[in-house]
């Protein structure tokens, strides 16, 4: 499957004019995203997420490396025709109403806004802004602004959605609706590249994850694999001999369970542990991988000393 987004050894260094001072916002970042996937782009504040998204959209230029979107350079008109973009803290022309803003964006996309009333009404209903057609956007609440931002991103039925903090400013109900909407779009086969700090919600819809910290990529891959790998394994056994607690199961957490004992051990030592239990004549009832959460994975990656730069 062709990659929709490609970052190849991308570095971005900000330099101050007339000064030697420089700041590496991104260093040697490489990843790919395939069509039809939802990719969560994660990182703590100042990690370089917005810089990466800005370069992806052609607003900034990388110092070195290459970015391709639909196989084209960022900013290419043919690529932009297939992208719906929601910037972080979406800004708008305050004097416009929602239908006028959407008509304006339709014109910017080179489409005739005449006869687009049904499309606009449908989009406003989708983001629950129907009934506010005559209200100027300057009078919208933060959550309503975010919704109109999402509506404009969906306007031309884009193949790729680039969403920078799509649930920011929304209340819990609003966040749930946006996630529901994103899940629908995923089911329609859209490719979604989103950055967010609300990890439990991202975990529900993302199937790929890219984590960056201090401008460097620390983890990328399939979310399910990442959550399973490096996690702990739960082994249920009828008993655990004392000598094993000091040898094969050293460091494992052992606690009573319904049918025996529950041994929680690092995934890399599971084979050694099970073989030792069998050798000792114990009955291994079950073995289950313990899935960590995205939040745990994220914190583990970004808290690692020297994990990035």
């Amino acid at each position: 499957m062709a990659a929709v987004i490609e970052f190849q050894r991308v570095t971005k260094i900000y330099r101050r004019l007339f000064s030697e001072e420089q700041l590496a916002a991104l260093s040697d970042v490489s990843f790919e995203m395939e069509s039809g996937h939802v990719c969560a782009f994660l990182g703590p504040n100042g990690a370089g997420k917005t810089t990466s998204i800005s370069m992806l959209m052609g607003f900034f230029f990388p110092t070195s490396g290459q970015i391709r979107v639909f196989g084209r350079p960022p900013g290419d008109l043919a690529a932009k025709e297939q992208i719906g973009f929601l910037p972080e803290n979406f800004a708008f022309h305050k004097f416009l109403t929602a239908p006028k803003l959407l008509r304006f964006h339709l014109q910017l996309a080179g489409r005739n806004p005449g006869g687009a009333d049904t499309l606009i009404a449908g989009l406003l209903a989708k983001v629950k802004l129907n009934g506010y057609e005559n209200l100027k956007i300057g009078r919208y609440s933060r959550g309503m602004v975010q919704r109109i931002g999402i509506a404009q991103a969906l306007l031309c039925d884009p193949q790729l959605l680039v969403l920078d903090e799509p649930t920011s400013g929304l209340d819990p109900a609003g966040r749930r609706e946006v996630l529901h909407l994103l899940a629908e779009l995923k089911a329609e086969g859209k490719t979604i590249f989103l950055s967010s700090h609300i990890l439990p919600e991202v975990e529900q819809i993302a199937d790929h994850v890219v984590i960056i910290n201090r401008g460097k990529m620390v983890r990328a891959g399939n979310l399910r694999d990442l959550l399973a790998s490096g996690g702990q394994v739960e082994i249920l056994a009828d008993r655990v001999p004392d000598e094993l607690r000091q040898s094969a199961l050293r460091g494992a957490s052992i606690e009573p369970a319904q049918n025996g004992l529950r041994v929680l051990i690092d995934g890399s030592r599971k084979r050694e542990a099970v073989e030792a239990l069998w050798a000792a004549g114990c009955d291994v009832i079950a073995m289950n991988p313990q899935r960590s959460t995205l939040e745990e994975l994220f914190l583990k990656e970004v808290d690692q000393p020297g994990g990035a730069r």
Binding site: F59, K80, L108, A109, G110, G149
Partner: protein, 267 residues
């Protein structure tokens, strides 16, 4: 063209609501009203006694007012253009606009045309004011109005292109101040002016480099104190206007060239 037209219309609507532009215009109206008072007093005091004397006294007042309005228009054009681009960067609306399949030069062209649309409204209002002042002064402007529309428009194109060029590399207030200094310097360097403190080489240099407001002044052809159009060859008009359009085009192309590689972020 749909994209450029949409940006132009949006810019025009935005400028009509721009607080600084409104403040500019309110200030201009206040000054005009202050100048109108002595004009009306002069008219009432002299018209009955000596119409010739009235013409001589009133029309220079009108000429001064027109010069003021014209100079104000140039500054308004420069500020509006600079703010139209900088405002989008400041608020971040530029990100949503340029995420659409719009080229950067199309964005700048839309902004430029939006400003020209506003300046056209300004020029038409100014033209109305011309006729109103002439009527108050008891004179009739016996000329076709195209000179009064085209010349200021070309002048405003230059200043708005300059504003856009400067704002692609600096803060709009600094860009406006530079345009203001350029306007003053161009006025001082004009050959029509009496000797100034400037050395000859500097004066000549500035005259060639800066936009010549004098050359592009409609008052070259319109003698407001006689309220008639001086006879001029069409080649005179063509040369002056092509010079102005060329100056504006060069400024705009430079702005587009700089803007294409500029990083866009919320300021």
């Amino acid at each position: 063209m749909t994209k450029v037209r949409a940006i132009a219309w949006n810019t025009f609507s935005s400028l009509l609501r721009n607080k600084i532009v409104i403040l500019f215009c309110a200030g201009c109206i206040c000054v005009l009203l202050l100048l109108l008072t002595p004009l009306l007093v002069l008219r009432n005091g002299r018209s009955a006694q000596n119409p010739e004397l009235m013409q001589m006294a009133v029309l220079p007042v009108i000429a001064t007012m027109m010069q003021f309005v014209s100079g104000f228009g140039s500054l308004l054009a420069a500020w509006s253009a600079a703010d139209a681009v900088a405002g989008e960067m400041r608020s971040g609306t530029i990100l949503a606009v340029l995420a659409r399949p719009v080229r950067r030069w199309q964005f700048l062209l839309g902004k430029f045309l939006g400003v020209q649309l506003m300046m056209l409204v300004f020029v038409i209002l100014m033209l109305g004011l011309n006729y109103l002042l002439a009527w108050i002064g008891g004179a009739t402007i016996s000329t076709s109005p195209w000179v009064l529309i085209v010349y200021p428009m070309v002048r405003y194109m230059i200043y708005s292109a300059l504003g856009i060029l400067l704002v692609t590399v600096m803060h709009p207030i600094l860009a406006f101040c530079i345009v203001l200094v350029m306007m003053i310097a161009a006025g001082l360097a004009a050959p029509a002016n009496p000797e100034t403190f400037m050395p000859g080489w500097l004066r000549t240099g500035l005259f060639y480099v800066l936009p010549s407001s004098n050359l592009l002044s409609e008052t070259r052809f319109l003698t407001i104190t006689r309220a008639t159009l001086r006879a001029a060859l069409w080649t005179d008009h063509a040369t002056a206007l092509i010079y102005g359009l060329d100056y504006a085009l060069v400024c705009f192309l430079l702005a587009a060239w700089i803007f294409r590689s500029r990083s866009l972020s919320r300021d």
